[in-house]
């Protein structure tokens, strides 16, 4: 078959699926896991105390993995553990015991890049699913075929592949494909960057990445500086991925798991993003032919976004609009004020666990997994003893105030602090 025909076929090909693809959310802690599942994730990925790439994250103990797996299983969700470092010789000895322990904790699978860890897992914990990490930067079907023959259950493709390539891979190889659809991106091929090692002696492929790609540089050609002013530095910083507007394309390309980046992100971020994708995927499956995008989903996502958004490599290679050249304002437009712990129906009072400062007179917004969504002005705030407070100022503090509508546990409270980035 000539290339033209293949191209035509693949571009028209639409993967028809009857089962919903998985929505896979990051969970940097047990609490975040519970929120991600409650807000609609079908699976979450977490990090343990070793062999993961987020050495700064609030990683899970085996006990927490067990509790997380039980919480998830009770709600029909799965847990995967990221063991996606590239190990060095001194890391090898502990891998077997570690994998055995996470398997015993009841998780479903691991996300892994290093063949050493894949091989050990197949020996000591064969009940675990092996998902090949994007750190392997898998970009073509023959490579996917290789990993399938090695017994890998699922491949997370490189973020550098587009829809055409994903369709081709799904067409050629019968294997689960997971793809990042939302969140921050390495600007390099994942795994193919050691900027941190060379700049700071921190090993990026063992969790020490210090995001050198987002630093500011001056660019030169021979002696001539190309960088015109301090305000327009050369940077390798990518905008964040957001595919919420393209759910039919994602599903019809045959992607089996829609992955959201961000084990370091807040509960607020994870809940907001998962909820938006949950609604979009559910809407699609109600009636694929009649599917329409609801712009409110993007409005919600933008409340938690701290970088401008784009579509990565899905449609075409990123151009100058897809990069960040210049200083970043890393604040999200909405402050995450707290989580709802209880609702006292009789008194119309809500009990909040504080996460960020807020005080009487401020406009806040409630939202929740069951569709709760309203704004109100905060009136008087009390502590557990009923003492009136001038503000909710202490992290994790338990506070009470009157609420205009019924709320429930897992609902969140946020407050706008700056303009939303209009980005897509």
């Amino acid at each position: 078959m000539n290339q033209e025909v293949v191209k035509k076929m693949t571009s028209k090909q639409r993967y028809v699926r009857r089962d919903k693809p998985e929505i896979l959310a990051p969970a940097g802690s047990l609490e975040k896991l519970k929120f991600a599942v409650t807000y609609g994730a079908d699976a979450v990925y977490i990090g343990g105390q070793a062999y993961g790439l987020r050495s700064n994250a609030d990683n899970f103990s085996f006990e927490e993995m067990r509790e997380g797996s039980e919480f998830a299983a009770a709600r029909g969700a799965k847990v995967y553990v990221a063991t996606n470092i590239y190990a060095h010789n001194e890391d090898i000895d502990g891998i077997a015991a570690y994998l055995r322990s996470i398997a015993d904790a009841g998780v479903t699978g691991i996300i892994v890049a290093d063949p050493a860890i894949i091989e050990t897992c197949q020996h000591v914990a064969p009940e675990l699913e092996v998902h090949l990490s994007t750190q392997q930067s898998t970009t073509n079907w023959r490579s996917v075929q290789f990993w399938k023959e090695q017994g890998v259950h699922r491949v997370v493709l490189a973020r550098e592949v587009g829809f055409e390539e994903i369709r081709k891979i799904k067409d050629q190889v019968d294997i689960e494909i997971e793809q990042f659809v939302h969140g921050a991106m390495c600007s390099s091929y994942s795994g193919r960057c050691v900027l941190s090692n060379h700049f700071t002696d921190r090993d990026s492929n063992r969790g020490g990445c210090c995001q050198s790609c987002r630093w500011q540089y001056d660019l030169f050609l021979e002696e001539e500086s190309i960088t015109p002013t301090k305000d327009e530095p050369f940077m390798m910083s990518s905008k964040d991925l957001c595919m919420i507007e393209h759910i039919p394309d994602i599903i019809e390309a045959g992607i089996d798991s829609l992955k959201i980046e961000g084990r370091m992100r807040s509960i607020h971020y994870v809940a907001t993003v998962v909820h938006a994708y949950r609604q979009a995927v559910d809407r699609y499956f109600e009636n694929p032919a009649e599917y329409t995008f609801d712009s409110q989903w993007l409005v919600e996502i933008e409340k938690a976004a701290n970088r401008p958004l784009n579509t990565g490599f899905f449609f075409e290679a990123p151009d100058e609009e897809d990069h960040i050249f210049g200083p970043e304002d890393k604040r999200t437009p909405f402050d995450f004020c707290g989580v709802v712990k209880r609702y006292d129906v009789a008194r119309g009072m809500v009990n909040i666990q504080q996460r960020n400062h807020f005080k009487p007179g401020q406009m806040i917004e409630f939202f929740g997994p069951t569709g709760v969504k309203f704004r109100q002005i905060v009136e008087e705030i009390f502590d557990d003893e009923g003492t009136k407070l001038t503000a909710a100022r202490h992290p994790m503090q338990s506070v009470w105030f009157k609420v205009d509508q019924p709320v429930s546990e897992y609902d969140l409270v946020r407050r706008q602090i700056k303009q939303v980035l209009k980005t897509l």
Partner: protein, 319 residues
């Protein structure tokens, strides 16, 4: 260093990249044992402008000189490029290439599919960091592993102790520290509206960047059809510490000629040739002063702002 090195490791191979036939002859004369040549399509960050025909000729010439040629097919391959892979693999098999260095499992799959007997060399660039991972490839018929540059002496030693595979170590020249598929330089040019800079991606002009808090470090980078590539701020130079490296029993020592002028490359090949011969003869230790002098001579040829370093050989990294 306790481990006994074998005969092969007493005469480690001196491997160097080569940009054309003329350079191949001169580097052969300077004492290189083997040459690394980029596949015209599947090689990435490889010097020169080779074609299937000129590489085939290079293999013939090298073999007449009793030298080896390894083909770099180290690209992360996208589906659009996949179709021509079997053809290239057949060409190298018929031409009698002495090895194919690969970084994408697709190359391995195609080699098996067409029944190629050319030895395969695994190079996951910065991801080849432990002995179990290289033995994983070894069990699947791969004969050599190209080790990550971000390893120290103890780690190299432990590699040797845990694998029968041939090991290749980068001993001299620049190393790639970042590969993006993005056209970062062209994009920056468009962002600045500076059309006069011309077609950045086509001629792979070498730029450099300086991070604003590290003004004494200059990192080269260029853009080509595969994206943007950035390199170390120093050239590795292990010449005067070969007395620590050679007893490890590394099979192949590689000099990277990318971003290096012909004269500088040839001088470095001569220097390492001499040092390796001393090692083979058992006179290296007595010649350490001379090695230091040779290193100073090489350093004198370095462009301004391009120092020598030992990479990670004596470093401990954290994470």
């Amino acid at each position: 260093m306790t481990k006994q090195v074998n005969d092969r490791q007493m005469k480690p191979e001196l491997l160097v990249t080569v940009r054309d036939l003329e350079e191949l002859r001169s580097l052969a004369g300077a004492g290189a044992d083997a040459f690394s040549i980029g596949d015209p399509y599947f090689g990435v960050r490889t010097p020169g402008d080779w074609t299937l025909e000129t590489v085939t000729e290079a293999i013939l010439i090298a073999h007449k000189l009793a030298k080896k040629v390894y083909i770099s097919m180290n690209l992360l391959i996208h589906d659009t490029d996949l179709e021509r892979l079997p053809e290239h693999m057949r060409v190298w098999t018929e031409a009698g290439a002495d090895g194919i260095m690969f970084g994408d499992p697709a190359v391995y799959m195609v080699a098996k599919e067409i029944g190629s007997l050319v030895p395969l060399h695994w190079s996951g660039e910065m991801t080849t960091t432990n002995y179990q991972a290289i033995n994983y490839w070894g069990k699947r018929g791969v004969s050599r592993s190209v080790l990550a540059r971000e390893l120290n002496l103890e780690q190299l030693q432990s590699m040797r102790e845990h694998t029968p595979m041939e090991l290749q170590v980068h001993i001299h020249g620049a190393t790639c520290i970042y590969h993006s598929k993005r056209s970062l330089l062209s994009n920056y040019k468009s962002h600045l509206n500076r059309d006069e800079l011309g077609q950045i991606g086509l001629d792979a002009k070498v730029f450099h960047v300086i991070e604003r808090e590290r003004l004494d470090e200059t990192f080269p980078l260029f853009e080509d059809k595969h994206g943007t590539h950035m390199f170390s701020s120093e050239d590795f130079c292990y010449l005067d510490v070969l007395n620590e490296v050679l007893p490890l029993g590394i099979d192949s020592l590689k000099i990277e000629g990318l971003l290096m002028e012909r004269m500088r490359l040839e001088a470095s090949v001569r220097a390492y040739r001499k040092a390796i011969d001393w090692w083979t003869e058992g006179t290296l230790d007595g010649n350490m002063k001379e090695l230091e002098r040779m290193k100073d001579e090489l350093l004198a040829l370095q462009p301004e702002g391009r120092p020598f370093g030992y990479g990670f050989l004596f470093k401990e990294q954290v994470y």
